[in-house]
Symmetry: C2
Subunit: 274 residues, 2 copies
């Protein structure tokens, strides 16, 4: 008898946003989930190191901390403030015991994407000493082009790979989220390139619904949409990737449902579609 393999199933705290992190940890663990990615808002009001211990005591691997980034700003002061916030994130990740921070790199309406991209590379470069000291890596997450206006000037895997090459540090890689990249005709080739760069640090799954009613909070559970999840996972694993498959879903609709039922649906969708 083949038992379903949940050894690489990770869920982001934001996926079950109504649950405090302590509840999420207990419920995930009881459902056989093996990894957790922690959003910084879930740590509000907690002591961070004990929260990390709590997660590990539930048998959960702490996969990453979400999120750093937002490097570009119109003023030098704004960019310094962004770096300070990223340094706090590195310290928090270290205290939590998370080996990785996912970066939503940022974009500023009224500033060219070219300039924002330069500021992103400069910002990441400035953090590398802290990364080395804390043993915390950074993952550039290319965001869907619909977020190029105000959330990220990095919108394809090719761009993220270019930045990884440019930065040339083992502490800088890529978080690949199918929601952002599934449409890209260059995806298979750029996944292979990312693998050759040893830069595939994280893999996020969900689905794209048609119609999509909201640009931010209408993601689908795996199987509810049109993303070829099995195809993309094949490409990912062809690079040798054996990390977690992380379920990251922002959904006003799903947050409004019973979260215990929803967790069951996540586990079933992972088994059937990822």
């Amino acid at each position: 008898m083949n038992l379903p393999d949940f050894s690489r199933l990770c869920i982001h705290t934001i996926t079950t946003k109504p649950w405090p992190i302590e509840t999420a940890a207990a419920k995930f663990s009881a459902a056989g989930v093996k990894g957790i990615t922690v959003w910084r808002d879930a740590l509000t009001g907690r002591d961070i190191a004990p929260t990390g211990r709590l997660l590990r005591d539930h048998g959960l691997s702490i996969v990453s901390l979400c999120r750093g980034g937002f490097f570009p700003a119109l003023t030098a002061e704004g960019r310094t403030k962004a770096l300070d916030d990223n340094r706090r994130a590195i310290a928090d990740a270290h205290a939590l015991g998370a080996p990785l921070i996912v970066l939503v790199c940022g974009a500023v309406p009224g500033q060219s994407l070219v300039e924002s991209r330069k500021q992103i590379v400069d910002g990441i470069a400035a953090l590398l000493p802290e990364c080395r000291a804390a043993s915390v890596k950074l993952a550039i997450e290319p965001l869907h082009p619909m977020y190029a206006g105000d959330r990220s000037a990095v919108n394809t895997l090719a761009q993220a790979n270019d930045m990884v090459e440019q930065l040339g540090s083992p502490f800088v890689g890529v978080a690949l989220d199918v929601y952002h990249l599934w449409w890209d005709p260059a995806l298979e080739a750029e996944i292979a390139r990312c693998g050759q760069l040893n830069a595939l640090f994280a893999y996020h799954v969900c689905d794209w619904r048609t119609p999509t009613l909201d640009l931010l909070n209408d993601r689908g559970l795996m199987g509810e949409g049109c993303i070829p999840l099995r195809q993309i996972r094949t490409w990912i694993e062809a690079t040798g990737y054996r990390g977690f498959n992380e379920v990251e879903i922002f959904s006003t609709r799903l947050w409004a449902t019973d979260q215990d039922e929803y967790l069951k649906q996540i586990v079933a969708a992972y088994r059937d579609h990822v």
Copy 2:
């Protein structure tokens, strides 16, 4: 004194959707607009050839007919139906006196983008005899990746250029809309390539708002958003393009305003931002 140059200003009928085409023609003409692109819904219940004469009598160039396409389907029957509809569009464009049809190429949830792209190329190829006979060209419009689920499997200018090369017909080119492509780091290079292919058939302008509240009907008037319109127009004109600059805006917000005032705003925004 330099008078503003409106000789290449075209407006799509859908931009001022509340106006019947006869009203739009009179108002556009009185405002100094020189071109009109006709959406097929604007022709409902009209005799087409006389409508074309009416537009020309107002001094308007008929720039294109919007829209054909939607080639992919899960069944052969569905694909045949799509071709029939495109043949009607070619006949309508011929009757209207429009030299060009803009193609929204189509995509089907549940069918791979690779298969949809193949069906798009096959569909366009099947129409070429009718195009030649009617002297009507086809423009592939790459759509924003947020429409890859159900509207178009062609989402970058590189893909559209590839299809133009593959089809190798002077009747097949590209309609470039800044809304769909402004974020693409390859845009400048692919515009140059499109020019070298003699395939830049149409240029559509509007703006990208942050936040964007609706995936379909929340486009901005030029100057309301973050698209570098002057920069892109420089790239366009470097190819030798001297066609119309077409204002195509879907906006529930702007359709709800006084359309006479809105037309004044369009003309001013064209002068100041395009």
